[in-house]
Symmetry: C2
Subunit: 278 residues, 2 copies
């Protein structure tokens, strides 16, 4: 070996189902440590003793190669699978091991040991409502399908490319929320009143806003050198949009330094939309 790189510690997100909960758990915890020094992978569907032994063999192999004991973030209901993994030359951190005793104490009842249902079809109604909401978001994107606004729980408005579509789809996918969106065109902005299609839905409106430099950059990726992407044009649209939001007392937020998840959470708080139950 001629490489002089510092070896990285291997991190595994391991689960008897999709691994999404283990990833969320582990990655949140790792934000509290120096992330640069980890090599992360996900091992889903580890739900039998055989698969557990084979996974452990692989995990221990990576540990031997780096000289650093691998860490497993696990969400695995089977006692037998957990037992196998715990015996390995690894740091084994399991969600159920950590929390279930405290919960059993608080609830004064024993846990059921049911296999992980968090990202399965636990409840068909909830599943269908997410699919319905997503279909709604896709057919009410970008001002299309105005007739359906009466079914919207929120209608996002903003100039083009401020992030309306991803937020709508996220709201549908994650929370089953019916979210439509309407792009404020230059005509809308010049008119200085709410677009006619939106007037009767004022309580559902939520504005997005973004830093002008950032919007200039985003639009330039689409149509470089165009009037549409020019900084003065972008600045004008954003100024007009903000004054429209203020004039009509609409809630709005800046999206420049926020993630889709954060924006979605703020919108749901503002509109008092209940999250789908789990």
């Amino acid at each position: 070996m001629t490489t002089s790189e510092t070896p990285k510690r291997s991190i595994f997100f391991l689960s008897d189902r999709t691994g999404i909960t283990a990833e969320t758990l582990g990655s949140t915890l790792l934000t509290q440590f120096d992330e640069g020094s980890f090599r992360q992978s996900t091992l889903p569907f580890v739900n039998t003793p055989e698969k557990a032994r084979s996974a452990l063999e692989y995990i221990e192999h990576t540990g031997a190669a780096s000289g650093l004991k691998p860490i497993i973030f696990s969400t695995t209901v089977s006692d037998e699978v957990r037992e196998i993994l715990r015996e390995g030359s690894v740091v084994f951190l399991d969600l159920f091991d950590m929390f279930v005793p405290a919960l059993e104490g608080a609830l004064e009842t024993k846990s059921t040991h049911r296999e992980g249902r968090a990202h399965g079809i636990a409840d068909e109604d909830i599943y269908e409502s997410r699919i319905d909401a997503m279909n709604y978001a896709l057919t009410h994107d970008d001002g299309v399908g105005e007739n359906g606004y009466k079914n919207a729980q929120v209608i996002l408005i903003a100039p083009s490319r401020c992030g309306k579509t991803p937020v709508c789809i996220y709201l549908a996918m994650q929370h089953g929320v019916y979210a439509a969106n309407y792009p404020l065109t230059e005509e809308d902005l010049e008119r200085r009143t709410l677009p006619p299609a939106l007037k009767e839905h004022k309580a559902k409106l939520y504005g997005l806003w973004i830093d002008a430099e950032r919007l200039h950059q985003i639009r330039s990726e689409r149509r470089k050198g165009s009037q549409y992407a020019a900084l003065p044009q972008v600045s004008y649209e954003l100024r007009q949009a903000e004054s429209l939001y203020k004039r009509h007392g609409l809630s709005y937020s800046e999206t420049t330094n926020k993630s889709i998840e954060e924006i979605a959470t703020m919108i749901m708080q503002d509109k008092d939309i209940r999250r789908r139950s789990f």
Copy 2:
């Protein structure tokens, strides 16, 4: 009060940021207990001592009303906020409290106490790649945009309404995967060969399949009584699709009793697609 309903215990998912991690954590743990008896809500952005006190007051109030001590699933980095919540008349279960000591031991280093970044814009590149992937999924949905197949990491194929679009969008949103999809039409299925547009991308193809009764039901919601929704038609298309998958040695899976997350995980395993790093 004339109601004789059993009081439900209140569960709170509380966080200094979006609350998504706390929800995932708590709802996974609650799958191990009888879910019918809980009333769940999410309290995001609890990031100052003032907000913590006000949240606690509300939480304790719900506990007093039901006579059952509320449970808080928390992911809150601030020691001060955690201290306030811990003192309440509640069961306080915090992710960092539970795991950080074990992790500090394993890593032989102290945690940084940085505020929750798991669902913020931790890394702008990852954020942009998710948005790019989502735009890709939206412009390569339903066979539109065949020219872009060379950039796809996976192309889902199936008869109409088997679940291609939600899975593509989920792959993009959650994992930053470039996923296109192609609807197998009746002509495609009669031809018994791969559609010309797909021939050179055979390694990227992944088939979806669904129970005929279920597809009949889904299509009937769209076009009740139509030939398109009729059970014999649906059964024919599904038989032909499955024999196409088999004839060309394509991976495929049934979606009837699977969640979007499970299907996405299986596809990524099959195509050996690395998840975006966290």
